[in-house]
């Protein structure tokens, strides 16, 4: 049984021949070489691999479903041909030296269902999930380690999931899920460091508000941190901004918890 520290070190130092970045941009690196969009040939080939990555946790995807979601064609035969071309494109890029009629390592097939085999692929979204899980476990007993791990989480989040597919509905759920993970990670880390490093806490809260400007908890951490460093005017400014944003977006007041911090700031 590995300790949390060992699990963290092992994961961080693990090496994969293929690394995939999906947060803020899409990039695949194979044996240290970054592929360009040109390497994928057609955009549908790129879209297909991104679809497989998005659905990596499913047991398998039926060919017809894939065709329906990506090609949106009524002609099943035409869709089948397009799918075959794109799949061939993926295999050519990911396994250029694979001999014909041998099993593909990364996209497996069972009957009419296909799946991306991720055992030997490092994906930033999976790394983010792993670190969040490990960080949560470290929260109660290993504060220093938890801080280190949550820093790792936010360093992975460079932006929304697959930004070039933001208008495709098949990527929306994963984008939303990862954004919430990132927002929560910012808040957990802000809470962990607010007393020891208020300036960094302010930066984290501001980063969270850049993702969602209605995230009230982030205003609270900023107010607490400004109070900590003795900058009351700025703390009051943050509260006013919070009031303005919540009123504009929801037509509501801040929570009593936020108002209480304001009272402390005002010395009431």
């Amino acid at each position: 049984m590995f300790s949390l520290q060992e699990q963290y070190n092992n994961y961080k130092n693990s090496e994969s021949g293929i690394r995939v970045y999906t947060l803020g941009k899409f990039e695949m690196i194979i044996n240290g070489i970054a592929l360009s969009d040109k390497d994928w040939g057609r955009d549908k080939t790129l879209q297909l691999i991104q679809f497989f990555i998005t659905n990596r946790h499913q047991f398998g995807l039926h060919k017809e479903i894939i065709i329906d979601r990506i090609w949106d064609v009524d002609d099943i035969d035409q869709g089948g041909r397009d799918f075959k071309v794109a799949l061939h494109g993926i295999r050519k890029v990911m396994e250029p030296n694979r001999k014909s009629r041998t099993e593909a390592s990364y996209i497996s097939r069972q009957g009419s269902t296909y799946k991306l085999e991720t055992e030997n692929i490092w994906i930033d979204a999976d790394a983010l999930d792993f670190y969040v899980k490990l960080g949560n476990q470290a929260l109660t007993s290993k504060k220093g380690l938890a801080i280190e791990i949550f820093n790792e989480v936010i360093s992975l989040y460079h932006g929304i999931y697959l930004p070039n597919r933001m208008y495709e509905d098949w990527s929306a759920a994963e984008r939303e899920r990862l954004q919430i993970q990132a927002l929560n990670a910012y808040m957990v880390l802000a809470e962990l460091i607010v007393d020891d490093n208020p300036r960094e806490c302010i930066r984290l809260a501001q980063s969270a508000l850049m993702i969602d400007n209605t995230w009230e908890e982030a205003y609270r951490f900023q107010m607490q941190a400004y109070l900590q460093i003795g900058n009351r005017p700025q703390a009051i400014k943050v509260y006013k901004k919070c009031v303005e944003v919540l009123d504009r977006e929801y037509g509501i007041d801040p929570l009593p918890e936020t108002k209480r911090i304001m009272e402390v700031i005002l010395g009431k």
């Binding site: 479903i65 509905d169 929306a172 209605t214």
Partner: protein
């Protein structure tokens, strides 16, 4: 005119539990809804605002596709738009209640749907575990359609037999 068009929405609800100034436990829902294909989003604290947002996006879609249909007369176009609004009226009446019911008691809603399925007949009364749910493929739809049509025929034949038996009595 393109016959199939999709509009997807992502709705984020944030639940806030807090004690109000009198110390009473309180709950507040805050939401954000995004239109995936268009990229627009809006915040809401009343679910009706989310419905209104969806309605405006869907109306835009209907109007755009109907307006660009070269083979339809003005009356046909107006008829299509009117039908679309009628459908929407029904959705907007039932959707908020369904959403609220699911929010209040998601398990209960799933159970209720499962009970409704079990009433249809033994053939499809097996409860579906949530983990087994998956997107249906076109061939799944075909199979379902043919099963439903077969069931309809059997029901109709059973009805005739029952009628005959009733007459004999």
């Amino acid at each position: 005119m393109k016959t199939d068009q999709t509009s997807s929405f992502v709705i984020r609800f944030t639940q806030k539990l807090f004690d109000d100034t009198e110390g009473n436990a309180n709950i507040q829902w805050r939401g954000k809804i995004s239109h995936v294909q268009g990229g627009d989003q809006t915040s809401f604290s009343e679910f009706e605002d989310a419905i209104e947002f969806m309605q405006s996006k869907l109306s835009e879609m209907t109007v755009a596709s109907v307006e660009s249909a070269p083979d339809k007369t003005k009356e046909e176009k107006e008829g299509l738009i009117s039908k679309s609004f009628d459908i929407w009226k029904k959705v907007s009446k039932s959707a908020p209640k369904l959403m609220l019911d699911v929010l209040k008691d998601p398990k209960g809603q799933v159970t209720q749907i499962q009970e409704q399925i079990s009433h249809v007949g033994d053939e499809i009364s097996q409860k579906i575990e949530i983990d087994d749910w998956r997107m249906a493929s076109k061939s799944d739809f075909k199979t379902m359609m043919s099963t439903i049509s077969q069931m309809a025929k059997e029901i109709s034949s059973l009805n005739k037999k029952v009628d005959k038996l009733s007459k004999k009595k």
